[in-house]
């Protein structure tokens, strides 16, 4: 997995110049937003559902230890195994060992963001395993050797033209000559290729949308059915999940699934929803011989204790990025790691460290649209602001901004001085503008005037005008 959140600025700049990316992004954006709106309006009281979702998640987090223990017991009772991984390295080691034990050569995978978080693909490939992504979007970016750019639509940054070219290269050795093809045709072609892989895989790896403590089940939703083929056909099923995904009951999970589908894709229900309970039992028509659940911490218990706990409510629906104007401008890769957009700008610094992610909490106008659509009401702007405070306290803000703030603060907290200085500065600026009303260029404000004119101030400040008027009116 690429890791370059430090490079946010240059990556964002490059993204803004990338015509294909811009085309793909502008097509995707309104689709997500419109579909969600229609679904939300069709639902009787979506606000109440959000509130319920939030409570369910809060309760689960509050008693996470109890529910995780219950989950473990139930998974074991169903004949499955539970493995605890403190960090990415441990999780990779556990999974590789399981693959060895299964004498695996070929591994199929359905989409898992935790899999990306721990970099499992690279690890398995380095270990000599053949890894096949079975989610169509993941399959596309695997061919393109790129990381996902969105948590539910990993190949959203690709145009149809680019996908046509990829398939031509990998499926037809370049013989189709890049003729632009229709989506259904591309989908069928990928299915054809994947079918054989499904049937011959030794291990199937999935994520988990929710972990249900009372039954020991994992909930899996897809729109392609690929997760089901991934976990039922191979000999061994490994599910990887963050510990934060646990919820008490099936009922809770179904409430959250309703929120998830509507928020993510505007569906009432994802096309395939499956509850997996351990390995195949006697009498089951299909299913793996072994079921392993790998539970990853990777900073989550630390988050649970501090002022960022609310972030753990996240159900990974992607609505926040779909509604984020910064994400819409630069796409997911600019953020430099697994989780993009608003949720990523909070999560990434918390998982990998504030010092390696200085831009992420700042690359946001705090417009609040993300929080207004988040199905579990995570106050993302507030959390981003808290991260900014942490950065500031830890001395991670660059000296230019720090100095600027100190300079401005010096005056702003000394009103008398402030108004004298402001009056002078305004007079100078007004004179410099020579009645044109604006500046096309102003050296001190190059960040502004690079792309827009700067309105010039009037001759006097409001306070000055007011004082004079008051005198005249005898106020």
């Amino acid at each position: 997995m690429q890791f370059s959140p430090q490079q946010f600025k240059p990556q964002a700049r490059a993204a803004l110049q990338d015509q294909d990316l811009q085309q793909a992004l502008s097509r995707a954006k309104s689709g997500f937003i419109d579909k969600r709106r229609v679904a939300v309006e069709a639902f009787d009281d979506f606000e109440a559902l959000r509130e319920r979702g939030k409570r369910i998640r809060n309760h689960a987090l509050e008693h996470m230890d109890i529910y995780l223990e219950r989950l473990e017991a139930q998974v074991q009772a169903a004949g499955g195994h539970v493995h605890w991984a403190e960090d990415a390295e441990q999780a990779r080691a556990i999974i590789l060992e399981l693959c060895h034990k299964a004498s695996a050569k070929r591994v199929t995978k359905s989409k898992t963001m935790v899999g990306e978080e721990i970099g499992i693909n690279e690890a398995m490939e380095a270990d000599g395993l053949e890894v096949v992504e079975t989610d169509l979007g993941e399959y596309i970016i695997q061919l393109a050797e790129e990381p996902p750019s969105h948590i539910i639509a990993p190949a959203i940054h690709k145009t149809r033209q680019q996908i046509t070219e990829l398939f031509d290269r990998y499926h037809h050795r370049g013989e189709l000559k890049k003729k632009l093809r229709e989506i259904p045709e591309l989908v069928n072609e990928a299915r054809e290729v994947l079918r054989e892989k499904f049937l011959t895989a030794d291990v199937g790896i999935t994520g988990a949308n929710f972990l249900i403590a009372e039954t020991g089940s994992i909930a899996l939703v897809t729109n392609e059915g690929n997760a089901d083929l991934t976990h039922t056909l191979p000999r061994m099923h490994i599910s990887i999940s963050g510990i934060d995904k646990v919820v008490p009951t099936l009922e809770d999970a179904s409430t959250l699934l309703r929120l998830l589908a509507r928020s993510a894709t505007g569906q009432e229900m994802s096309t395939y929803t499956t509850f997996v309970n351990g390995p195949r039992r006697d009498g089951d028509p299909d299913g793996p011989d072994e079921f392993h659940l790998v539970l990853l911490d990777n900073g989550r218990t630390r988050m649970l204790q501090g002022q960022f706990r609310e972030m753990l409510r996240c159900i990974r629906c992607g609505a926040c990025m779909n509604h984020c104007p910064v994400y819409a401008a630069v796409g997911g890769h600019a953020y430099g790691w697994v989780y993009p957009g608003p949720m990523g700008s909070v999560l990434t610094p918390l998982i990998v460290g504030l010092d390696k992610t200085r831009d992420l909490p700042h690359a946001c106008t705090l417009n609040g649209r993300c929080a207004s659509v988040c199905p579990v009401k995570i106050p993302l702007p507030k959390l981003l602001r808290q991260l900014r405070s942490e950065q500031y306290r830890e001395g991670l803000m660059d000296s230019r901004n720090r100095l600027g703030l100190a300079f401005w603060g010096f005056f702003a907290t000394r009103p008398r001085l402030y108004h004298t200085a402001a009056g002078l500065a305004i007079r100078v600026l007004h004179a410099l503008s020579r009645g044109r009303g604006r500046f096309r260029r102003l050296p001190m404000a190059a960040g502004w005037t690079g792309s827009r004119d700067l309105p010039a101030p009037s001759r006097r400040t409001f306070q000055q005008v007011w004082k004079q008027q008051s005198k005249e009116r005898g106020r």
Partner: protein, 262 residues
Amino acid sequence: MTDTTPTREKPIVALFATCLVDLFRPNVGLATVRLLEQAGFAVEVPQQQTCCGQPAYNSGDDDRAAALARQVIRQFERYSYVVVPSGSCAGTIITHYPELLRGDKEWQDAAYRLAERTWELTRFLTEVSGQQTEVPAEYAGRITYHDSCSGLRELNIRQQPRTLLSAVKGLELVEMEERDTCCGFGGTFCIKYPEISERMVSNKVEAIRQTGAETLLAGDLGCLMNMAGRMQRLNVPVRAYHVAEVLAGMTDVPAIGEEENR
């Protein structure tokens, strides 16, 4: 102003003009005063006011932001009404001061008290003064209205300015696509990430242009300066005013960023 009634008989409103209005566009402050006076209030402008502290708060510099919050509280706590012609500065006082001062019970209580008495201008005019149907202004032309983010999502300002504008004679409101999408200003954001901000404001300008409106209105000077500046750079002939200027009938001055002797 012909009104000569002694001010002490009227309820008093303190105006928090905001630093941008103070520095860049006094006319917005004057228009706000006129609107409040028309609504039957006497207006006072505490002279020591500077800035609400948002630049520090949004940069994570909580100590400096808290110092400014205490300064504003001290200057305004004796008033029953504080009116602000900006959703984002009003939002800072109303929703963020109590949060910012949570470490100190006394100050936090004071912050809550101030929050209860602080109003964004259009909301004050529609909900407190109850004068919304008697706006006497005139403005000939087609306008479009940008919902600034903080006002919209922190304070629920959406219908209020439209209600007030619907009474302005000659004015026709045309809504733009994605009227509630951020314009890319974001305070220091637009300077720290100029390219991203440029894309966002360009999208906004395109939405404005598509309406065919001659004038853009909004309730926040920061967003207005951003959008007006971009329109001028792109030679899009749409004028920009603060909503208070139109409501008060004070559009006889150049629009934002416009030449002085037009």
